[in-house]
Assembly symmetry: C2
Homo-oligomer: 222 residues x 2
């Protein structure tokens, strides 16, 4: 009974937003949280949640927030898969830097073709992670295993490797770039300041950099 309907661009963006918010796990996915994520008005969100509910893509209850149904989840995961595959394409094949790929992938993720994600996946050599270290959902919807800790939770004097950043905004990524921090790069945590939780790390070439607590909370290491 796979009544496979199609989603509008806007519906896809809502499902993706709900998926990300569920994943982050800051409690229930409220209308306000979605509005903030998508930078639009709570009243608009209520409209859309109604529509997504009617289409059985989510369950919505004012008190419990929005929850993806199995089919909503499937749609959302596919969008994330496409987004991350396209990011790899843009980065690896077209030479875009990691701070440029997100916005373009934001458009490419909506391209509809049954075969395209798998063909792209194969063409790219079945990558496991995107240029920000985020795991790429497989064709079956599974996410590759991924273990890491926040840089802000790391132990001093341990050699680690940057494996993911959880903020793909150009501003943040360019800031990291400027500090000399990139994906898969070894770093040594020298000290964590007590008073402001800022982290002093040593990069290749003995270069030392202070990262604010805010930044350290967006960097995952292993």
């Amino acid at each position: 009974m796979a009544t496979t309907t199609t989603q509008t661009l806007s519906e896809e963006n809502y499902l993706k937003a709900i998926y990300h918010l569920e994943k982050q796990g800051h409690g229930k996915v409220s209308a306000t949280a979605i509005a903030e994520e998508l930078d639009n008005n709570p009243a608009s969100v209520v409209d859309m949640l109604k529509r997504l509910s009617d289409k059985k893509l989510i369950q919505y209850d004012k008190n419990k927030g929005a929850v993806l149904t199995a089919s909503g989840q499937k749609v959302a995961v596919l969008i994330v898969r496409k987004h991350r595959l396209w990011e790899v394409f843009l980065h690896d094949k077209l030479g875009y830097s990691w701070d440029e790929v997100h916005d373009i992938a934001e458009q490419l993720e909506h391209i509809r073709d049954y075969d395209l994600p798998d063909r792209l996946d194969k063409f790219l050599g079945f990558p496991k992670y995107d240029p920000h270290g985020d795991p790429i959902p497989q064709s079956n919807g599974n996410l590759p295993a991924f273990s890491s800790i926040l840089l802000s939770d790391a132990v001093v004097n341990r050699k680690m490797k940057v494996v993911k950043v959880s903020d793909d905004s150009p501003d943040f990524l360019r800031y990291l770039e400027k500090q000399g921090i990139g994906l898969n790069q070894p770093i040594l945590i020298k000290e964590i300041q007590e008073f402001d939780k800022s982290v002093l790390v040593e990069l290749k070439g003995k270069k030392e950099v202070y990262l604010s607590a805010e930044a350290a909370k967006k960097i995952f290491v292993k």
Copy 2:
């Protein structure tokens, strides 16, 4: 004074349609012709022509039809460039057949990024023609030289090569495929029937095929 505004998806499709109709040169580009091309209602077309006129992307006069302005032309050519580059990507890199690429490129052509067309072009090795033999506009808007004649206008007993088809619909392309006709393929025109203008051609392996006058009018040879 390059007041570079952005077009909606629908506006882009109208500009592209007008571009193609201008190119075909069946006289003026009327509202009805556009409606037919886009498979929508003439009343809707009038709406949109008004909007495109206001934005100075076209000039519209009921009697003279729609004509792209310089800036409208620029937008249209870029869309065509993107469409054809993506078709090459889908065909050459992802292994799609020539009847599958059009519909996906129809979506990809709307992806917006200043650098993308040029980067894609470079990545693909600066192709001159798409998988249907249509010339790809260069970065500066120029079209590569292209000389060919319609198969229906060809002379009997001449060895020629299929260089372009002017109908990218899957049905037509799959029909050609089934007949054994593909791009860059040598064919010998054996005879043209007087009574129905159908064309008998010889393909590789001495295989002989009758093509209807309608089909022959959509195949370009050189």
